[in-house]
């Protein structure tokens, strides 16, 4: 494993050359969306300039090239998460749509009033609201895995929660706490109780080597844009037989085999779930992003983030001590590179505003996880998150800017 050379990596990202307020851009919001390397920008540009046409339609050369590039991207994404078949990757608009696809297709075909779905208190709204909508519509019961005081899933009551459940929908990594959840034992427990398992792997896939076969889950949702790829495209992985048994989600072109006045038959998986002209060039960009991070090796990506997160946690504690609370596990093996914190008596938005003066980009707010924020008893936190292009100098810039904010708002 070769360690990341961040100075070289930074040069791959044109936006990082930008100055904001006269200062070097310090981008620490990759858990929200990652920046894009030249490799991705060039792949998309080349696609539009030289190979662009609608896919799965024309028999002319550039249409065939576009189709080949689109399907090659699917194979890249499949390999990236070790899916046994490329056809198990359904392209969606984003991870949220992937989860909604399961909620609308599989869940509405299979769940009845009184069935239970198990979620956790650390879920993103994307893995909460689709199930609440289903619960309201179908009378499905939602159950919640609580958290321990050290920001992990409290599994002490897991068997009771899973008893009679049809689905466990769980995050692989919390976008607020950074907590990594051990999916395999959760999947095993759910399967023992006859429940399927959906994993919101949005924060996980870009940062940790992902093996859908090792997880043994049933549905896995993730997106391109947190992986240095473009927005507008995400993926749902599921087992072929499960996808084949599911009814279609959106109706329209591409998802059909035949249409008559009295009905239609559906296309094969995965195209059955890809109604309408898809995000063709975005798929190409998604594939290029997979190539880009794969070239580092996911073990190197993870090792870099563990090291940087450790540096950041230590620096925050050393500099601010008791005046700053970190929300998330301290054990680096059990957490990813999203670090949420709060100054005593200073609102996260005010902190973030002062940080912007120094071109330090962090996220402030509830991070689309309001049930979790209520559990934590805070309205908002500030979150710094890391990726391949961040280094210790970025963390140092964060610490200095935070010190400025603390001084400014000194109560």
């Amino acid at each position: 494993m070769t360690a990341l050379d961040v100075a070289t990596v930074k040069r791959d990202f044109p936006i990082l050359e930008r100055k904001v307020n006269g200062k070097r851009l310090v981008y620490l919001d990759s858990a929200s969306s990652a920046q894009k390397p030249i490799a991705v920008l060039d792949a998309m540009d080349d696609s539009y300039r030289r190979h662009y046409a609608n896919i799965h339609r024309g028999v002319y050369t550039i249409a065939e090239e576009a189709t080949a590039a689109f399907e090659a991207a699917r194979r890249k994404v499949a390999r990236f998460v070790n899916a046994p078949h490329a056809e198990e990757i359904v392209f969606t608009r984003n991870a949220t749509e992937s989860i909604n696809l399961v909620a609308y297709s599989w869940a509405r075909a299979n769940l009845r009033a009184g069935d239970a779905i198990v979620l956790s208190h650390m879920e993103h709204h994307a893995n909460v609201v689709p199930w609440q909508m289903l619960a309201a519509e179908r009378g499905v019961e939602l159950r919640w895995i609580p958290l321990t005081s050290d920001f992990r899933l409290d599994l002490s009551n897991l068997d009771a929660l899973l008893d009679g459940a049809r689905l466990l929908a769980i995050s692989a990594m919390s976008n607020v706490l950074g907590t990594l959840n051990d999916i395999r034992p959760l999947a095993d427990a759910a399967h023992t109780h006859g429940a399927l398992v959906l994993v919101d792997a949005c924060q996980y896939v870009p940062h940790v080597a992902t093996d859908v076969q090792q997880w043994d889950a049933d549905f896995i949702a993730f997106s391109s844009h947190k992986l240095c790829g473009p927005t507008g495209i995400g993926a749902l992985w599921s087992r072929l037989e499960l996808l084949e048994a599911m009814p279609p989600f959106l109706g329209g072109g591409e998802m059909i085999r035949d249409v008559r006045l009295d009905g239609f038959t559906t296309n094969d998986v995965p195209w059955k779930f890809e109604a309408g002209t898809p995000a063709i060039v975005e798929a190409v960009g998604f594939g290029a992003a997979v190539d880009y991070v794969t070239a580092f090796g996911m073990d190197a990506v993870r090792a870099h983030e563990v090291s940087l997160t450790g540096y950041a946690l230590e620096a925050l504690r050393d500099r601010f001590g008791e005046s700053l609370t970190i929300y998330g596990p301290t054990d680096l093996d059990r957490r990813g590179g999203a670090v949420s914190f709060l100054f005593d008596g200073i609102h996260a938005h005010d902190v973030s505003q002062v940080l912007d003066e120094d071109a330090v980009c962090v996220r402030a707010g509830h991070h689309c996880a309001k049930p979790l924020m209520r559990q934590l008893g805070v309205p908002a936190t500030t979150r710094a998150s890391f990726y391949v292009y961040n280094d210790e100098a970025d963390v140092d810039a964060l610490i200095e800017a935070l010190a400025k904010a603390q001084k400014f708002f000194a109560v």
Binding site: H347, E357, K370, F408, F409
Partner: protein, 165 residues
């Protein structure tokens, strides 16, 4: 480029650190209204007690939590409306929101032509300390933080009027 000193004027920080009129009022006679800014989780709880005889704000108390701008704006609003006739309070709401939106439209490049509207809204209204909040308009995402208290006040006035009708 606007600096943070334009946003966080000393008087704003003072209201944030020492908010005025914090507390609760018995409901009724007071009317309680809660306002939320779903984007950032700012929360304003407003207790408004209107004297139907004089048609004036007899008392006002505030609670809630949020960023310095939302909480300072709430505190300044409470100080500005306490004891004032409702007609003046309504004028103040219009004037304050005009102050916020005129700059918003300027930022969007809609020209200077809106100045006359602002002048009309502000005619005869003394904003006093509230003028310190005008720096907020240089930070468009924070405008909602500043207007939350005033939208909540508007709602409280509407509901009070309905209850009396």
């Amino acid at each position: 480029m606007a600096g943070i000193e334009d946003l966080y004027r000393e008087i704003i920080l003072d209201h944030y650190r020492s908010p005025r009129n914090r507390g609760e009022l018995p409901v009724p006679p007071a009317h309680k209204v809660e306002g939320f800014n779903p984007l950032c989780g700012d929360e304003v709880v407003l207790y408004l007690d209107v004297d139907p005889e004089s048609d004036a704000v007899r008392d006002v108390k505030i609670a809630g939590q949020g960023c310095s701008i939302s909480q300072a704006s709430t505190s300044m609003m409470s100080a500005a409306v306490k004891g004032r006739p409702l007609a003046e309070v309504r004028k103040l709401i219009r004037a304050f929101k005009a102050l916020m939106s005129i700059h918003e439209s300027k930022l969007e490049g809609e020209g200077e032509g809106d100045g006359s509207d602002l002048a009309a809204e502000l005619a005869g209204v003394r904003l006093g300390d509230l003028e310190a909040l005008q720096g907020v308009v240089k930070f468009p995402v924070r405008i909602k933080c500043a207007t939350l208290a005033w939208n909540t006040l508007q709602q409280a006035l509407d509901e009070t009027a309905q209850a009396q009708a």
